[in-house]
Symmetry: C2
Subunit: 497 residues, 2 copies
């Protein structure tokens, strides 16, 4: 390895360690930190962010990149390292250290305010801190710059190759496909019965169920763990230490179950990134959308499928005997009930993207200053009524439901991109594993995981989302497989067309 490469790797490894330390502090904050520990934690995270940013954006990194870019003897992986680092460095170097620190400190403040606001079920408690977050986000978009729209600045980081313009087109296409289906299903609500899902569910047994489902999909507990948090999330300190969390609802056994499959899907991606990409900018998912494709694929295309419930229903019944009289078909239909509902995280696959579009449209107005944080609750509720025909009864079921705005904007597009990519990947996996449904019915999920490891996980960030998609599926980002999947699945369940 050349001396310049060694030097670059060493600085990047150090920056990576600091980011991992930040992630540990954040994980702890959301899982085990005592109530009053937040203020000092905010200081600690702010300091770590600033120093990680300082190290990563040091002029020496720029020099090393230039030297390495002029060389023609680098291997494929080293070239990818230089290219990805260049992309990150060019963006990050434009952000002042003080802004990075201020953003981290503000994120801690906003998180604490969000927790308090949720306890009081009152957006107004969160609003001043969110206003401060938004002001910093605006400053950040101006610092890093953008081609057409300030929102492009977020997309350039999370979704390489994506623009606000292209995202808006994709949203339009999805809307045209999905809204008529939402209306058709609304007239056939009697087709799916979910009454038997209601009840009281012991939290200890729910926890066992969540541990079981994470194991079933292949999450490796020697290299990770699961805990509980207010908002489920996944974080990774290395491929050998990946943390997922879930949230249990005493009255809804499926909430924790699907949260666990979802986060385990993220976790599998992180655990599948090869060791040689670790401690570098290549050692993470290719994009937010690619990451969500993994969680949504396991949650929905596997976890809400007939074959999965053929396998998994007896396990649910063993822990919760009240389901002993329930059949696979009834369970399959119930967990796929499509109905306008308030909470994104529990939304079905047909309405889910409408939740995302609502958020992204509000974000576009917030970042351009067309919408003030003081008016956000009203804007949310109005838009919600227009899209879903129902008005949130309170802030917990409305504007306060997601943790994401505590740390900024620009994360939500990844969910819809993830849905679209998941359908593309699953269609390709089905072509290559013809008896995949038989495997799933027997609880043998290893063949699917193996396919994802080979076509997605093993590249980390060394290939772009587009390169990964084209190699794995033969096509770049394409909404058709997703729309076809939704039409077929829900067409059958609701007896449409």
């Amino acid at each position: 390895m050349s001396d310049e490469l060694t030097q670059l790797r060493s600085i990047l490894a150090e920056a990576r360690d600091l980011q991992a330390a930040f992630a540990v502090l954040d994980w702890d904050e959301q899982t085990y930190m005592p109530p009053r520990g937040g203020e000092a934690r905010g200081d600690q995270k702010a300091t770590l962010s600033r120093i990680a940013h300082q190290r990563f954006t040091s002029p020496r990194v720029g020099e090393l990149l230039s030297l390495l870019e002029s060389r023609d003897d680098l291997g494929e992986l080293d070239r990818a390292l230089v290219a990805v680092t260049r992309r990150d460095w060019d963006r990050e170097v434009k952000v002042p250290d003080a802004l990075v620190e201020a953003m981290a400190r503000q994120a801690s403040r906003s998180y604490r305010a969000w927790i308090q606001a949720r306890d009081a079920n009152d957006y107004r408690i969160f609003e001043p801190e969110f206003a401060a977050t938004l002001a910093l986000e605006r400053e950040w978009t101006q610092a890093v710059g953008y081609a057409e729209h300030p929102y492009d600045a977020f997309l350039a980081g999370a979704e390489p190759g994506m623009s606000t313009r292209r995202l808006t087109e994709l949203f339009g296409q999805l809307r045209r496909g999905l809204v008529p289906m939402v209306h058709a299903i609304a007239e056939r609500q009697d087709r799916v019965d979910t009454a038997f899902l209601k009840g009281q569910f012991d939290l200890g047994r729910q926890w066992e169920l969540c541990m079981q489902v994470a194991r079933v999909v292949g999450f490796d507990f020697d290299r990770g763990r699961q805990d509980r948090s207010v908002h489920p999330f996944t974080t990774s300190f290395s491929r050998d230490d990946v943390r997922i969390t879930t949230r249990l609802d005493p009255e809804d056994v499926t909430a924790g179950l699907f949260a666990s499959i979802h986060e385990a899907g993220h976790g599998l991606y992180e655990q599948g990134i090869p060791a040689e990409l670790g401690r570098s900018p290549l050692g993470e998912g290719a994009s937010g959308g690619m990451h969500e494709s993994q969680s949504r694929l396991w949650e929905n295309l596997v976890g809400r499928s007939r074959p999965f419930w053929t396998f998994f229903l007896p396990r649910l019944q063993a822990l919760f005997p009240q389901f002993q009289g329930t059949g696979v078909e009834a369970m399959y239909r119930a967990v796929n009930r499509s109905v306008p509902s308030f909470v994104r995280m529990h939304a079905d696959e047909v309405t889910y993207n409408l939740h995302i579009m609502l958020r992204v449209d509000l974000e576009l107005r917030l970042i351009t200053g067309k919408l003030a944080t003081a008016d956000l609750r009203d804007a949310w509720n109005e838009r919600f009524a227009a899209d879903f025909g129902i008005t949130p009864p309170d802030d917990l079921h409305g504007v306060l439901q997601d943790i994401h705005w505590t740390s900024g904007l620009g994360v939500f597009p990844s969910y819809t991109l993830g849905n679209v990519i998941a359908a593309q990947l699953m269609a390709a996996a089905r072509r290559e594993i013809p008896d995949l449904d038989r495997h799933i019915e027997r609880g043998e999920l290893g063949s699917l995981l193996h396919w994802l490891r080979a076509h997605v996980h093993r590249f980390g960030r060394s290939r772009t989302p587009s390169e990964i998609l084209v190699a794995a599926t033969g096509r770049d980002l394409d909404a058709e497989p997703y729309l076809a999947y939704i039409a077929a699945k829900f067409g059958e369940i609701y007896g449409l067309g």
Copy 2:
């Protein structure tokens, strides 16, 4: 506040944040980290250590200290900050960054090897890593320098004002007082019955007991938490986020109980350090010995006292009905049984310091090269047989029992100093709170905590251990109160002279 002071405080706060982040990573490693997370964690901790050291030892700190030392307008606390920072800086600046990083990395390796060695009950698995740790410790003592003995280098950091020579004298004095008592008690083993303490104890109820006892002594769970770990410890990320751990033994209910009181004692000290000392070198305990005085005071002078058991026995009985026939006197005598035993952590107050002296004597030989790590197990067992008349049956009951050597030498003296200081403080507290035993009998431990807050905790590291002791008790370090306490307590229990 002067500009120089602001600058100094800002650098120190940042170094502190990095140390706190290190402590979070360490806490996580010992409590929740999955089995294979250790290697990356070692990298992360090594990077944090090195950067914290770099920041703290920057030439700018030295310049600011010199500027501030020449000023005569500083308040008392600011003068203390400058003096303490100078002491630390002068020592730390002599240690190369690379050595700091290597020591942190080695500590992680040694910790993992120690865990494996414990699983296999075989010191030989730990030995090569301990040899590497020892080599780095030697290098460190040479780097920081010392007056007479390499071991002085450790004491200068942990125990300001203490030297190897003085420590050896103190050990001699204690040995002269304690050994005859050990022999006299050995002949009267039938005086104390502990048979009724044997049994099987549900871990869930033990956990409840450990939570209760921490609450009883005043540990604030809004500003801290308790977890389980292989070796109980206390760590602090700020006065508002203090973590204690305990270890439960299914066959010994007192093991976890006393571990929890001990660690809660440390925790109370950390929670009692004023906010204005936080995020600076003043925001911690005055010395290792002063810290241990707090844990040992609560564990022994309170937790192993008659008045405490008058109050606490009904609580134990409520959780463990098998003790319903046990009286306070029987319990008091049982938890004070003095007998040569293998494990320091469970040793009684008479033999405890012999465990420490054994370790410190071995450390003195290790650091000077007179003893090789390859010969440590034999040396331990020989010395143990000589001091206690029994030979450890295996390494778990011998050389592998303590976690301390995974991160280096020089920590054990603090335990004996803590015992001595605890007796001095308790004697002084008794003089000023005449009905202290009545308070304790009623479970009102607040008066004692208040006294400790006022005379010890509130100073953090802004006064030396000696200054704190003289102000609180009227005397500098003095073994007499400790020896008098032991003679009176155990003389009564065993009917001596």
